[in-house]
Assembly symmetry: C2
Homo-oligomer: 760 residues x 2
């Protein structure tokens, strides 16, 4: 057999050796706040389980299975697991939680165990068959499956170096076979370190089992023991070679010892084919390791450190000289069973072997120049061989011995994990470096089961796929449904206005200027009129001055210069009397209307403006730099000037009920309040916004209207509005999390626009 260690070292393949694909499947039971299994159905909000890529149900209706897509790193895998948990935890009924234990501490009565309500008749029947063979209590056990694939480039490289008398596929299978052999031999180490099903109530055991198992003792992992969910003793499948494996498994099915190939349970499985026989031609694509208990101390069932540990544990299986024989594998299985039932606070019976194995891992890490972080993790595990109380089971038993009831502990942790998911309900942990609008869209897409590909997370670029239909989305709502010219039009305020006017919409008159002197020359055109002076194409209200009752030449010039600081072209526009509203159009409907109120505080006759601002800024919905639905109110030069205009300083105490404005502009980004106005707004204006969006050739648009009376319908003769801006890629967050009024889930509307066939 190939000496992988030697090739990797001599051919400098360490970098490639460390690259891999990862995926996790994590089951757990939904429980009530008492710790008993929930009686409700799988939440309907998750849509159709028959295609859902992230949220399935395992055996029981109460047993969601969370599946991370294949990722290129452990970090990404963990992010996905976090995000899917965020979605599931925030989608559960208020009084439901995810049990952080593999074996429910309180088992339901047998007749209360409900097999998953699936669309497929065959899937339900298979589950009922399993109940008949294994009983239904063991089916209630949950665990984590860890999928692992080496970089195909590594395998190709090794193949080219080694030039074996085999096909590339067969060579690949040989590699995975070696890993599987050694895994079976050394899996007990993982059970020792990470086993976490320390107890089960009496009803868990089959009658004949209880006489053997000392119920009064804790175990490292009942789930990984012979009392776990294992095949009957007459099922034997060789892992010696692919051929042996295929022949054995087919024989087991033919003889009726297994009802189907998938009924063969092993802590490692060959993946990538539908039928075992296809392994002969396609080879093993990747491996699935099914050994892992839920770690109650990890919010998502497994610590990220442990995921890294497993990665290098698996690499070491390939690296090591040894390739376990059939006999050694049988031994390994026995060691694992024994380890599983050891008292968690006693040292391992195989401490020496474990320590030696981890030392070998450390040697490998040294050889491949692995990150220090990884080395530290392995050293920690190594220490746990001398400190059994540091193993997961050890920690659990310690907690119970210190007086904690296992059920109570589980419920407390479950509640804590759910509360953490609700801490920033507008964000999606795992992806919280992305824009909030994309986070919310991802939340909805995960919930509904759209396949997500993060094409570029720095660039907020994703694809969503339903069946064979793929759509690309950037920044939450930029899609193929818009024509390109639309955003190009909207990037240019002058062009936008010209086109809206051409199409018969009411826009304020304006002049465009390329120089201060040109703007000054036209000052006479604007004397005595309310005007707005603004840069041609920047956003967020920067450089905008508003003179409701006209500007003196001096103030006009000042404002012109301020605007020119933001852009090389500026606009001087008629000021329209009325209130500004943002209309959010998707497709042919105005989905939300928002009133934005300039940053303000309401006096109480006691506190100063400064104190009132500080108080208002304490709201967890207010943050900085678009990391929250609302922005904190600043107390800078502009705010100072604004309250000066009302006769105040920051130390003034406004009277009770009095509203003090801190800004003239109403942008949320400068501390304004967002107030949903969708239902109040007369439909005629909503229709106009839709028509404008169509005229601009886009599907998603944020149109800013000035409307003096929102309840009076617009007519051709008396339009009753002026449109002052149209924005592509408009902010969604302000509508989804308004300061006041109803939330409008625009991200769901985006999904409906893109995937009408899903009938969301």
């Amino acid at each position: 057999m190939t000496d992988f260690k030697e090739i990797i070292l001599s051919k400098h393949l360490s970098t490639l050796f460390s690259k891999a694909s990862f995926g996790i499947e994590k089951e757990s039971q939904r429980i009530t706040d008492k710790g008993s299994i929930a009686k409700t159905n799988h939440p309907a909000v998750f849509g159709n389980r028959s295609f859902h890529p992230y949220i399935q149900t395992d055996f029981a209706e109460t047993q969601p299975e969370l599946i991370s897509p294949p990722t290129q790193s452990v970090d990404e895998m963990y992010e996905w697991l976090t995000a899917i948990h965020d979605v599931v935890l925030r989608s559960l009924p208020q009084d439901e939680y995810l049990l952080p234990l593999s074996i429910p501490p309180v088992m339901p009565a047998s007749d209360e165990v409900r097999v998953a309500v699936l669309d497929s008749e065959a899937d339900v029947q298979y589950r009922e068959y399993l109940v008949s063979v294994y009983g239904n209590k063991k089916q209630m056990v949950s665990g984590i499956h860890y999928n692992f694939e080496l970089d195909p480039a590594l395998i190709k490289e090794l193949y080219q170096i080694e030039k074996p008398a085999l096909s590339l596929k067969s060579f690949q299978s040989e590699i995975y076979l070696k890993m599987a052999h050694n895994f079976l031999r050394y899996q007990w180490i993982l059970t020792y370190l990470m086993g976490a099903s320390i107890a089960a109530d009496a009803s868990y055991f089959e009658k004949e089992e209880t006489k053997d198992f000392p119920l009064q003792h804790f175990a490292r992992s009942i789930r990984s023991s012979q009392y776990g969910y294992v095949n009957k003793g007459d099922v034997h499948v060789s892992f010696d070679s692919i051929e042996a494996y295929v022949n054995d498994i087919e024989e087991m099915v033919a003889s009726g010892k297994l009802s189907a190939e998938k009924e063969f349970y092993s802590t490692v499985r060959f993946r990538g084919v539908k039928r075992a026989r296809d392994l002969l031609t396609n080879g093993i694509a990747y491996l699935e390791f099914r050994l892992f208990d839920l770690n109650p101390f990890a919010a998502f069932g497994m610590h990220k450190k442990d995921m890294h540990f497993i990665h290098y544990f698996l690499l070491y299986l390939l690296w090591m000289d040894e390739d376990a024989t059939e006999e050694q594998m049988i031994l390994g299985k026995q060691l694992n069973y024994r380890t599983a039932l050891e008292n968690p606070l006693t040292p391992s019976a195989y401490q020496a072997e474990g320590t030696a194995f981890l030392n070998g891992m450390l040697e490998m890490l040294d050889g491949i120049h692995a990150d220090e972080e990884i080395v530290a993790i392995v050293k920690e595990k190594s220490a746990a061989f001398h400190h059994p109380e540091k193993t997961v089971a050890g920690q659990m038993v310690t907690a119970v011995k210190e007086g904690q009831d296992l059920t109570e502990m589980a419920v407390a942790l479950a509640k804590k994990y759910k509360a953490e998911a609700w801490k920033r309900p507008y964000a999606l942990r795992g992806f919280d470096d992305m824009e909030l609008s994309t986070q919310i869209l991802l939340f909805d897409a995960i919930q509904k089961g759209l396949k997500i590909n993060i094409l570029d997370r720095h660039d907020q670029f994703i694809s969503l796929t339903y069946q064979n239909h793929r759509e690309y989305v950037k920044n939450g709502n930029m899609t193929s449904k818009d024509s390109y010219i639309g955003p190009l039009i909207m990037e240019n305020k002058v062009v936008t206005k010209k086109i809206l006017a051409e199409n018969g919409f009411a826009v304020p008159a304006s002049g465009e200027y390329h120089s201060v002197s040109a703007a000054l020359k036209d000052y006479p055109l604007f004397t005595g009129k309310g005007i707005v002076i603004k840069p041609k194409s920047t956003n967020y209200g920067l450089g905008i001055s508003i003179f409701k009752d006209g500007a003196s030449l001096e103030n006009y010039e000042k404002a012109v210069r301020i605007a020119f600081e933001e852009d090389e072209d500026i606009l001087v526009e008629d000021y329209l009397q009325g209130t500004e509203y943002r209309f959010f159009v998707i497709g042919n409907e105005t989905k939300a209307v928002l009133l934005r109120v300039p940053a303000n505080v309401k006096g109480d006759g006691i506190r100063t403006i400064r104190e009132l601002v500080d108080e208002k800024n304490k709201d967890s919905m207010r943050g900085k730099n678009h990391r929250s639905p609302l922005e904190r109110i600043e107390m800078g030069e502009l705010e100072k000037l604004t309250i000066q205009g009302q006769g105040y300083t920051f130390e003034s105490i406004p009277s009770a009920g009095e509203i003090v404005r801190l800004r003239d502009n109403s942008n949320i980004s400068t501390g304004g309040d967002s107030i949903d106005f969708t239902d109040q707004m007369d439909d005629s204006y909503k229709k106009l916004a839709v028509d404008m969006t169509a005229a601009l050739g886009v599907a998603v648009c944020g149109v800013d209207f000035i409307i003096p009376d929102y309840s009076r319908p617009s007519t051709k003769e008396a339009p009753g509005y002026g449109v002052i801006e149209a924005n592509f890629n408009p902010a969604m967050l302000i509508h989804i999390y308004p300061y006041q009024g109803e939330s409008r889930r625009l991200t769901m509307d985006v999904l409906r626009l893109l995937f009408p066939e899903m009938l969301l």
Copy 2:
């Protein structure tokens, strides 16, 4: 009547007073290089005259009429006139020119005068009727019509200040009536200054005319004299009021003295209605002044200075106290006729009145703080009253007296003006501040008669309209035919590659890095392989390093740092062996394929590389900063390094026929040569480019392929290519003006894409 002067001064309306809309219609005859009228038809390349907004024919088939659209300034009007001339002059047959004189110095025989070949039967019949009444020689005369409209805001403002007992429309008509009255009274001043039809051959005159007109003398303007194209003596129409005007003109038609209302010729016309009667309800929208001869010394028939002069001349007609009576208008007409026939080198008989009028203008200019430029123009005109040789007619006569034959002079000028239009054939004068691709697109759109609206020239944003179908275009080829997501994808090289790969196209493998250290860590993955290191999203070849045979760690690190100077993310990509080609796709066709050869010179065994570069850079197609189809070759640090790699300095003398590369990258923007390869390239690759464009969701795309053998078809098994980049808004110029090979008029393809119904 309102005292406009007083209101404008007291209410500070000077700025508004000076704003106006302008338009020009300029006729001229197509001539041969001998100065005789062309015998060819109106060029078919101009498409259909029945809707052409810019290029029509006047009376004769040989008489193009060039029409500028309404503009908000004289400068813009002049730009349009320039651009339309560029199109017409460059579209004429090689041996045809535009006669710069109002009256052809060589008249064709009567039976050789060809009435315009128009679609409309009625239009042709009307022209034939005109021939029957006026003879066909006078129809051959050309001139310039100047359309003028005051700013409606001015009229509204004046109306609100004055509050007359009239409707706004009637008030507007009163204003234009005053201007018309005073124009008729003082038009002779324009004839004196700008008259330019000094002679006509005998055949021009009706038999009864020749006995009166002293043919041996030059005139200021035969066209503006009684021998011009004027109504018969029995046609009388009052300008006293709208009512009188309408009644008179209707009576003339009823009595058969005019065949139709449009047969009423006057040096000023009321515009904005189809039938005179509509003036009573709609009012006068604007005025048309028809007095102007072609100025042979102005490339487009009238100097811009004179356009400005006319603007303020017209304003003064409103400003002055006087409102000419019927009697004074009749006098004015007589003064004009007399002035027209004066000897151009003698002072005006009405010098005092002319000088006084211009002094009045200067007072007005002072009052409204007009630009010094305008004041200078008026002073120049004033001086011409004391120096008749400075008038246009005066200059013409002086030239003839100095021995120039009028025909020869006209032909020489016509040739000069045509040559000027051909100086930068890839540009469009009038719009040469815009990008060249937009200039060429505008050229084609003007030629074919699409209505153009320059929405934002700084932003290269235009609209094109054919009948009721409007399309917007930015930067020459960004349109509604692209979906928005396509350009967003292409802005991101990583996303582009992922999506192309997902769709089954061959892309080189690559790694993406956000930090130097991450890129360095992966160096082992790239050792010994040809690689390209480049920033993720910048263009023009900046920051790209190519290592065809792999890079040392040192060079790798250097290249990584160079790439990071251009972007915060970089790519390390497999280097593909082969030649790079740019495929330009529009709709579902690859319209052009281009080979770009890195900046190079070919040795001659005599000259140094420096001399060879200087020589190559002399080509007028080579310029700087994208102001020409090719860029000059630089001799900077990078070029120095590149030739060093070939064993040279700039002072080396390469042997005859040897090609020396000055750059490794092939971008045209760094001096590369563009070679059309459309016909040579195997169709399979062209098909692939179309499929990729569709996969990216756009209509226009520039796809960069690496192809080792362009003549070998691509197959599924042996793709024979790698796609390395896809570009939205790809450069068109390099295909339209390649260094070698056939020109591909992609701008026409864009028009075909946008307006398939035009069948261009």
